[in-house]
């Protein structure tokens, strides 16, 4: 298991692994928004939580088709499926590797990008916390979509169509945490919901994903 995680992380940070692309994409989205809505800092501050969450979500989506597809193409997935590792465990490790190389860095740089959008003071901490808590769910749900479409030649677009509706609850609770933190309201409920969502996704979706991969391999 650890060997698989280390291999995936090594491959991701090596040249051609696409590490950093999502971060650059996130940066560009955040830079583009003020050009679209105008430079008024009060407007930007109002929409900052939403923009940052949507930007992180799209950046996360960008690298999803790599989660299983590269291993499918070079035959590794066949070999992993016949190996002693349970396929559910492989899914968990793959989603974890995706989170470590995409979700976590996104959560870490989000507060820096929030400066560009004039996010009010109390929001910074909770922006980081909500993203750190919510992006694992995004990675796992995304891995499910990637597992469904792994056998398709051009699955990328379909993957987005399948995964984006599934992202709705995560986005709602995640952005709500930041908005409430900015308005100095109680954040307990959305925080608990987001954490529950992440836990439930990691508890249940590996089974669905592994089933989908097995079907795609045959």
């Amino acid at each position: 298991m650890w060997a698989l995680l280390i291999r995936d992380l090594t491959l991701a940070v090596r040249a051609g692994g696409g590490f950093g692309l999502s971060l650059a994409f996130f940066l560009i989205v955040v830079v583009l928004v003020p050009f679209g809505v105008g430079p008024q800092s009060d407007v930007l501050a109002r929409i900052a939580p939403g923009i940052l969450w949507v930007g992180a979500l799209l950046a996360c989506l960008l690298s999803l088709d790599r989660v299983f597809h590269l291993d499918f193409e070079d035959g590794s997935l066949d070999l992993l499926a016949t190996s002693p590792l349970p396929l559910e465990g492989v899914v968990v490790i793959k989603a974890l590797a995706h989170w470590l190389t995409t979700g976590l860095p996104l959560a870490l740089i989000a507060p820096a990008l929030a400066v560009l959008l004039n996010l009010p003071g109390p929001g910074y901490l909770w922006l980081f916390v909500s993203l750190a808590l919510g992006t694992p769910a995004l990675s796992m749900i995304g891995a499910f979509g990637a597992g469904l479409t792994v056998g398709l030649k051009r699955g990328g677009l379909l993957l987005s169509l399948l995964v984006l509706p599934l992202y709705v609850p995560t986005l709602i609770f995640g952005a709500e945490i930041v908005r409430r933190a900015v308005d100095a309201q109680a954040i307990g409920t959305p925080l608990a919901m987001l954490a529950g969502l992440t836990l439930a996704a990691w508890a249940c979706l590996p089974f669905a994903t592994a089933a989908a991969i097995r079907i795609n391999l045959r």
Partner: protein
């Protein structure tokens, strides 16, 4: 240790290709599958490896027994030869990779990235991978593709050693490698009868 396949039928893309395949394999034996292209060699091997369900019949074997080597070698271009081998070794809970390195004279290539290997070298690495699995039944799908005569001989030696150590091998190949313990199974005998349409409920009359 024994593998027995009884009355196995398998399908590709919903179309039955083979039916009634039966054979047994004892420790130390090898079976070579023969047959023209499209007869269903890959489908049969994948079915026995557990990658796809059989439409009928059974495969009986001890658990965690198979090491599968398909058309693709499952190598990561961004990792070195040694890293690739070590990865698969640890997946199968093994430490030692020296036997695998020795079998195909991979020592000079150990630090090379898999990306920089030739097709034949990649294949050698992919076949050497089986030695780090510690599994008794090796399943090969056209293992000698892109291997030269010298390396084909090395491969045959590797399989022979495995058989002598009580292992088993099942392979689809067109060339005769002179394996001492190999039997040949002609798959044309088991070609599925496509005129037996009633097997598929959608082909019942009156739909």
């Amino acid at each position: 240790m024994e593998i027995s396949v009884t009355d196995l039928s398998c399908a590709r893309g919903g179309l039955p290709v083979l039916s009634g395949v039966s054979f047994q394999l004892q420790a130390g034996q090898a079976l070579v599958l023969r047959g023209p292209n499209g007869i269903g060699k890959t489908t049969l091997l994948r079915t026995i490896a557990g990658l796809q369900p059989a439409t009928a019949g059974q495969v009986q074997m001890p658990e965690d027994c198979v090491a599968y080597a398909g058309h693709a070698d499952g190598l990561k271009a961004g990792l070195s030869v040694e890293q690739n081998l070590r990865f698969w070794a640890s997946v199968y809970g093994q430490r030692e990779i020296s036997a695998a390195v020795g079998a195909f004279a991979l020592t000079p290539l150990l630090d090379r990235l898999a990306h920089d290997l030739s097709a034949g070298q990649k294949r050698r690495l992919g076949l050497a991978r089986l030695l780090v699995t510690g599994r008794p039944l090796w399943i090969f799908d056209e293992p000698t593709v892109s291997l030269d005569a010298e390396n084909t001989r090395l491969f045959a030696e590797m399989v022979d050693r495995h058989l002598q150590g009580g292992g088993m091998a099942l392979m689809a190949t067109h060339i005769d490698m002179g394996l001492s313990q190999a039997r040949v199974l002609d798959l044309t005998l088991f070609k599925a009868d496509l005129t037996a349409l009633a097997q598929d409920s959608f082909l019942d009359e009156g739909v």
